[in-house]
Amino acid sequence: MTMNAKVRVATVWLSGCSGCHMSFLDQDERLVDLAKKITLVHSPIVDVKEFPENVDVTLIEGAVANEEQLEMLKKVRARTKILISLGDCAVTGNVTALRNSWRHSDQAVLERAYKDPADLNAAIPTAVPKLLIHARPLHEIVKVDFFIPGCPPHADLINYVLTELLAGRTPVMEGRSKYG
């Protein structure tokens, strides 16, 4: 990476509500400054299907809830220098993990979603990725470098972390982050 090259940033949306991405966009006019320094190489808001190689920073929203996401996360980790858990779902499991309080919550949640409310032809779909038994935060599966908790995290906090990282400093979360 030369001095002039832009930092390659990606965002990923796993099992979350997209609220963290909304918060990312809520950086508003600061996005303009950010855009001067970074290039968004992959994100739900850009049209790149395959996660690229050599990404400098990836922000991941959402918990890992199914096998496809598990694979995705591992791929992202392998192709990213700095991985950031964005938001409570990625950091703690949060709402996505509410189902974890049931034993074999994968089955329980499918039945609750597809069988209990159905009037006819109740069936659990098979053409979708298999649910993991528990929804899990990212760092239980791969190494995560930074965490931005919050449901959603405040735009200011996202901006702070990115600004610090772009300036080559380590963000200090003490007293800044906020769960929930």
């Binding site: 858990s85 409570d88 950091v91 703690t92 499991g93 949060n94 709402v95 993990a97 509410l98 974890n100 309080s101 049931w102 034993r103 528990h134 935060p137 760092h139 239980e140 995560v144 930074f146 965490f147 931005i148 908790p149 449901c151 200090v172 979360m173 003490e174 007293g175 800044r176 982050s177 906020k178 769960y179 929930g180």
Partner: protein, 235 residues
């Protein structure tokens, strides 16, 4: 009998307090706030949460500030890298122990555990979370207990016993299985001793005990015990 006034140092600041004052109180009186989750002024010290551990010069041991009385010429350190690390560890262990999901919790933004995690910079939990599966007891007319959110600080038990004077609440089982119970493990609605005074909900540091339908900011009144004790003493 007159009480000795003694001098000591807390974080390098000279402090003068009556002998026997708890370190936590002595620090607070001179503007130094030591974090705690189980201690509450007006109730007896419990020494359970271990967040208020402080260093005392001359010994490698750590002391709970809530229950350790000050001594003359003590030199107390309330902030150090080690203490911060240990406090973060305690908060992480509490967060991993049961089901703590701030975004869906009634006490979101009014929770001492959440505030403590934010303040200490606990941005993630190094342990795998243990998703507890305790039933919520909402059999009482308006008081609800969700033990999944309980951190076993026993403030509710102490306020019920020491301030309300009823002792409806207590603990059953031990270790990680400990639970706050009503009477002899009755559903709350069947408790014959509960006076429905709400003090338990007021002092609960988290969202484990709350009042159905009432905004949490109306319910929480954590200085209630201190207030009542002070009024009683005045009388």
């Amino acid at each position: 009998m007159s009480v000795n006034i003694i001098k000591l140092k807390i974080d390098g600041v000279e402090v003068t307090v009556p002998e026997g004052t708890a370190i936590l109180k002595a620090a607070k009186d001179s503007g130094i706030i030591i974090p705690t989750l189980c201690n509450l002024e007006g109730l007896t010290a419990y020494g359970g949460c271990r967040l208020c551990l402080v260093e005392v010069s001359g010994t490698p041991k750590l002391f709970p500030a809530c229950s350790t009385p000050v001594g003359p010429n003590m030199e107390i350190t309330t902030q150090s890298d080690k203490l911060k690390e240990y406090r973060k560890m305690a908060v992480q262990m509490l967060l991993a122990e049961r089901t703590h999901i701030c975004s869906v919790c009634v006490a979101d933004d009014h929770c001492e555990l959440q505030a403590m995690a934010n303040q200490l910079g606990v941005d993630h939990v190094m342990f795998e979370r243990n998703w507890s599966q305790d039933e919520i007891d909402s059999t009482h007319d308006f008081l609800v207990i969700d033990r999944n959110r309980c951190i076993l600080c026993t403030r509710c038990i102490r306020v019920c016993d020491q301030i309300e004077g009823v002792h409806t609440l207590d603990l059953k089982l031990r270790g990680k299985d400990s639970q706050v119970i009503m009477d002899l493990d009755e559903h709350w609605g069947n408790s014959c001793s509960c006076t429905s005074c709400r003090k338990c909900a007021k002092v609960c540091p988290v969202g484990a005990i709350y009042i159905e339908g009432e905004p949490i900011e109306h319910t929480k009144k954590r200085d209630i015990a201190e207030f009542i004790v002070e009024r009683r003493n005045r009388r």
